[in-house]
Symmetry: C2
Subunit: 347 residues, 2 copies
């Protein structure tokens, strides 16, 4: 059954009203607030139809209607008006995001903070997965008699390091030789690729001269490489959710906090999520514990390739229009900032 123009209009009004008020919307309120030339009774009939079609639901007999996930989906896809971010706000975002572009991690973390401040929701960001990044250098540096620092630098400038405590003394020559051999052997290979190799075996073959030393370094080398792939999760504005009526119930609030505090689980959800501006509403989320939430994510790119994500999480009733605009603007800004790399420094 197709939705009539009037049904759409009513549904739009209900969703829009509910997003702001968080109160079930009644027919009387609707006809009073939005002058659409029909009586409450007519609206009631239409509402009843919309309920049958799965767009609305009833908390109880004598309450107004609230939109279902399906209604939000329709709203997001077809009815939502484009939100124009005020120029002043745009300027602030752009300035704050570009004034300190040295470190991707810091910029992204800061973006998450900014996002939570603007949207008054809990926000998050993850750094890109660098599996396709290639190795540029390996360095072993002496620290004290029994300690060395292992340092791996990627093609994109990402650095991963580890302290290694050795059982026996080493010589500076050994370190230098190792650094050179390792760099020579793995330079240009992707991190992911190197991780699939049998490093311990390779170390034995390539460096028989410093055999037992190499063997001792091997696990740390793998560990350090693996940590180059670590996706960092930044979570901000957690306490914002307490201002949201949906979380006035202590149990709901608890569930929410527990959900987002399981960082590993949450990171995985984000990593596996499609790229682009993605909105998942309530039951559209595959994860059972997110059935009451909506998640909006956008991606940002570095040099047009490596992809990280930034987004917000909150109740299904959220200001989809405003949030998507802000999110898109911010992610574009980050991408632009990190695309200029090597071409122009500032301005």
């Amino acid at each position: 059954m197709e939705l009539s123009e009037r049904k759409l209009q009513i549904l739009h009004a209900i969703v829009a009203d509910f997003i702001y008020s968080a109160e079930p919307v009644g027919s009387r309120t609707l006809s009073r607030k939005y002058d659409m030339g029909i009586s409450p009774a007519t609206i009631r009939n239409e509402m009843s139809d919309l309920e049958d079609m799965g767009y609305l639901s009833h908390p109880h007999t004598s309450a107004g209607r609230i939109p279902s996930d399906k209604a939000y989906r329709l709203y997001v896809d077809q009815m939502m008006k484009d939100y124009q971010i005020p120029e002043a706000e745009k300027t602030i975002i752009a300035e704050k995001l570009t004034q300190n572009v040295r470190e991707l991690e810091r910029t992204v973390h800061y973006a998450a903070t900014l996002l939570s401040e603007i949207t008054n929701l809990a926000s998050f960001a993850i750094t890109p997965n660098r599996t396709e990044n290639t190795l540029k250098y390996v360095n072993l540096l002496p620290v004290d008699e029994r300690t060395v620092v292992l340092m791996i630098v990627g093609q994109d400038g990402k650095v991963s390091s580890a302290n290694i405590r050795l059982e026996h003394d080493y010589t500076t020559e050994n370190l230098e030789l190792m650094s050179r051999v390792l760099t020579h052997n793995y330079k240009g290979k992707t991190i992911n690729n190197i991780l699939t190799l049998d490093i311990v075996k390779a170390f034995e073959n390539d460096m028989y001269a410093i055999h037992d030393f190499a063997q001792r370094i091997a696990p740390d080398f793998l560990d350090t490489l693996e940590r180059m792939l670590t996706v960092d999760l930044y979570m901000e504005g957690l306490s914002n959710i307490f201002s949201i009526p949906e979380y006035n119930d202590i149990d709901k609030a608890r569930c929410f906090i527990e959900m987002v505090q399981k960082k590993q689980q949450f990171t995985e959800v984000l990593v596996n999520r499609e790229n682009g501006l993605i909105i998942t509403i309530g039951s559209e989320n595959a994860e059972a514990y997110m059935k009451d939430c909506s998640l909006i994510t956008a991606d940002y790119r570095i040099d047009g390739r490596l992809v990280g994500k930034i987004g917000v999480i909150g109740p299904t009733r959220m200001k989809y229009g405003e949030i998507t605009s802000v999110l898109k603007y911010m992610s574009d800004n980050i991408s632009q900032t990190f695309q200029l790399k090597g071409e122009k420094k500032d301005e």
Copy 2:
């Protein structure tokens, strides 16, 4: 006025009971539960005295007594029994903390997680402030035509790095020269010390040959040094607080989450806090927003010098005995792990 033996006994019973039940303790309950050979009426008289002395308070006329901060202080100082950590738990802690000792950050973060699991409270840990750490190397490595990686290694193996985007091309010779000059000039100086110097000026004087290049690197050098001093804060078990009756009130929970989410503020409190096993109870906390909380912290040491902290935060009603024991055991474990450095690797 001195507290009689009997008063102490009664106070102890009230505090111990309240810590477990979270319910105001009445005279009748007390005389029934703890057989101390006196009638409820007598207990009432004593309680009344204790209230006058500031050890107890009354939520309302017809409720039992609850301990004041002063009572908790007395309890912690004089009455609390030593809690014996079960051997099984000790083993678990020791094993889990020592099985992956490569990275201080990771060990400390993991310790915080473990602590929150054991105590069922919110826990935290900060890494040491490395102001007294000395510089060991500076390295500038080429990444692409206009990007270099600046890397600073400290005496303790801590690494701090930054991506630097240059406006003009550079030569590998320039990078190597700069690395050597910088290392030569600052090696052995404390990070704190270097930060007080006028680096831009020094760069101009020492490296007139590569003057404008040096000038461009200077701010990044300072920034990277500064980040060597960053104290990381790890916060775990946040959602545990929802199981605590004190935070059943949504506003209380909100305040708590807001408090600990202000990471910078919270880190500062921890950094400025005295070393050792420190317990601050409610109003003993200098910060107004912590007046309803107790904070227990212990420090851990690296190589006997650099000091980080680990601890828990929760309502004033907490199991001081158990928690201090566990906390002490864990912090000692971390210190030991990082003291063996250079002497023994495993075992």
